[in-house]
C-alpha cells in the first residue's frame, strides 16, 4: 500500500467510513460513501429500505442512500454539478483498484477506465 493510500485512508476512514475502493464517488453521492451500504450499491437505494428509513440488512443504521440523497440536496457548499451527478448511472466497481489511492487514480485517470461494453458514464 502506497504512502498516499495510507494518508487517504487515515483521513477518509473516520470522516466517511471509506472502504478504499480506489474509485471515489463521494462528491457525486452527497459526500456519503456508497461502499458503506451493506450491498455496496453505487446507484441509489434498493427496494428494501424500511418504513422508518433504516437499512434492510442493518436495521440499527439509516439507509446509506437515504442519507446520500438528502445530503446531495441539502449539504451546503456542494457545487451544483455535484448535486446533479447524483442522478447519473455510475459504472460497476473495478475490483482491481481496491486498496489503492483514489487520489492517485484520479490524477492518472485510472478511475475513468471503463469496460469497452459499458454504456453509461
Amino acid at each position: 500500500v502506497s504512502v498516499v493510500a495510507r494518508v487517504e485512508h487515515a483521513l477518509k476512514k473516520p470522516l466517511f467510513g471509506c472502504a478504499m475502493c480506489g474509485q471515489c464517488v463521494l462528491h457525486d453521492t452527497g459526500m456519503t460513501c456508497p461502499m458503506t451500504c451493506p450491498k455496496t450499491l453505487r446507484n441509489g437505494p434498493c427496494g428494501g429500505v424500511r418504513e422508518d428509513g433504516t437499512c434492510e440488512v442493518r436495521p440499527e443504521m439509516e439507509c446509506v442512500w437515504l442519507k446520500a440523497e438528502r445530503r446531495s440536496r441539502t449539504l451546503p457548499l456542494l457545487p451544483g454539478a455535484w448535486r446533479e451527478h447524483f442522478h447519473e448511472l455510475r459504472p460497476p466497481v473495478d475490483n482491481r483498484l481496491e486498496g489503492t489511492s483514489s487520489w492517485v487514480n484520479l490524477l492518472t485517470h485510472r478511475d475513468r477506465a471503463r469496460p469497452a461494453g459499458w454504456n453509461g458514464g
Binding site: 450491498k39 450499491l41 428494501g48 424500511r50 461494453g117 454504456n119
Partner: protein, 313 residues
C-alpha cells in the same frame, strides 16, 4: 418478438404478468401442474431467482421449463448471488433457449433468507445490470467482446414506490429506464397515495408512453399473512388499519381477496399503468377469480380477440 413485448409496444392491455410459484423438484409433470392456473391467465410468467434469498430450482431452468410448458417466461435476475460474468452467462444462456424477457433487480439480502451466513455478491447493482443487459442486446459483452448474433431481449426492472425516499423513487426508476428498461414490475404497495404519486411523476415526464408500469397485486389469505409480509419482506409496509380491516371481517379470506381486488382496480385505473403483476400466496383459485372479476378473459381468449377488439387501458 415476445408476447410481452408485443403487448407492451402495441398498447393493448391490460397486461397480466405473474410470479411462478417457487419450484424444488418432482419433474416437469409436477411443474406443469403447479403453473397451470397462472399459465391460463398470465401473458408472461416470472421465473424467480432464489426468491426471498431461499435456494430453489434456478431461474434459467425454470424459464426453460416454462417454455417447454408453452408459457412465456420472464427470467428474473438478482445481483445477490452471482457476479457479472455469471449474470451475463445466464442471460445469454437463457436467450439460447428462446427466453427473451428479463427482469433485473438488486435483490433482497442474504440475511433475509434461510442461509444468512452466505457470501453476498452484489458485483453489479440493479441499474448496472439493466445497462449490461442492454449491452448484450446490442451485440457485445460488457468487456466489449462481440456477441453474434445479438440475443433478442426485452428488458425490464423492478422499482418499489412504497419504500423511502418516496420522492426519489421515480428518479431511480428513470435511471433504469435510461439504462434500457422497457417495463417495470412495481413492488406490492399498500399505500395507494404512494403508488399514485409514483405513477403520476413518471407520467408527467412522458415515460409511461414507452415503458409499461405493472404494479404488483399480492393475493394474501389472511390478516396473519399480511402481518407476515409486513414483518418479514423488506421494503413492504402494510398499515395497521389495512391488517385490522381484514382481521375483523366476518369472512377473513374473503376480505383479504377483496383487498387485492380493490388494489388491482385502483392500479388499473391510474393513467400510465399498463397492467398488473400477480403474486398468488393463496393458491386456491383466487388468481383466476381476480382476473375474471377484473373483466379479463383467459389469455388464449384475449389473444384470439386481440385483432378484432383492441382494448386500451
Amino acid at each position: 418478438m415476445s408476447r410481452l413485448r408485443e403487448l407492451a409496444e402495441s398498447g393493448r392491455g391490460p397486461i397480466v404478468t405473474a410470479e411462478a410459484p417457487p419450484f424444488d423438484g418432482g419433474g416437469l409433470g409436477a411443474f406443469a401442474e403447479k403453473i397451470d392456473e397462472v399459465a391460463r391467465w398470465a401473458d408472461a410468467i416470472n421465473a424467480t431467482d432464489n426468491t426471498a434469498a431461499h435456494a430453489h430450482a434456478s431461474n434459467v431452468a425454470v424459464a426453460i421449463a416454462l417454455l417447454r410448458c408453452g408459457a412465456e417466461p420472464i427470467i428474473q435476475l438478482v445481483c445477490r448471488d452471482k457476479n457479472r460474468l455469471a449474470l451475463q452467462a445466464d442471460i445469454v444462456g437463457a436467450a439460447l433457449h428462446g427466453v427473451e424477457n428479463l427482469c433485473c433487480l438488486t435483490g433482497d439480502d442474504v440475511t433475509s433468507g434461510d442461509e444468512p451466513e452466505a457470501r453476498r455478491v452484489f458485483d453489479l447493482d440493479g441499474p448496472q445490470l439493466v445497462s449490461v443487459a442492454s449491452t448484450l442486446a446490442s451485440g457485445r459483452y460488457l468487456s466489449g467482446r462481440p456477441l453474434e448474433p445479438a440475443p433478442r431481449l426485452f428488458i425490464g426492472a423492478v422499482e418499489n414506490p412504497a419504500a423511502p425516499p418516496f420522492d426519489y423513487r421515480p428518479s431511480r426508476a428513470r435511471k433504469k429506464i435510461e439504462a434500457g428498461a422497457r417495463f417495470l414490475q412495481l413492488q406490492i404497495c399498500y399505500h395507494p397515495d404512494r403508488l399514485e404519486g409514483f405513477v403520476a411523476a413518471l407520467r408527467a415526464e412522458g415515460v409511461t408512453e414507452t415503458v409499461s408500469l405493472l404494479p404488483t397485486i399480492l393475493l394474501a389469505r389472511s390478516a396473519r399473512s399480511l402481518e407476515f409480509v409486513n414483518g418479514t419482506i423488506a421494503g413492504i409496509s402494510v398499515p395497521t388499519e389495512t391488517i385490522d380491516r381484514v382481521r375483523r371481517a366476518p369472512d377473513e379470506a374473503g376480505a383479504a381477496y377483496e383487498l387485492a381486488l380493490e388494489q388491482a382496480r385502483f392500479a388499473l385505473a391510474l393513467p400510465g399503468v399498463r397492467g398488473i403483476h400477480l403474486a398468488d400466496f393463496r393458491r386456491d383459485g383466487s388468481l383466476a377469480r381476480l382476473c375474471a372479476d377484473l373483466g379479463l378473459a383467459p389469455r388464449s381468449e384475449r389473444e384470439a380477440h386481440a385483432d378484432r377488439s383492441p382494448v386500451t387501458v
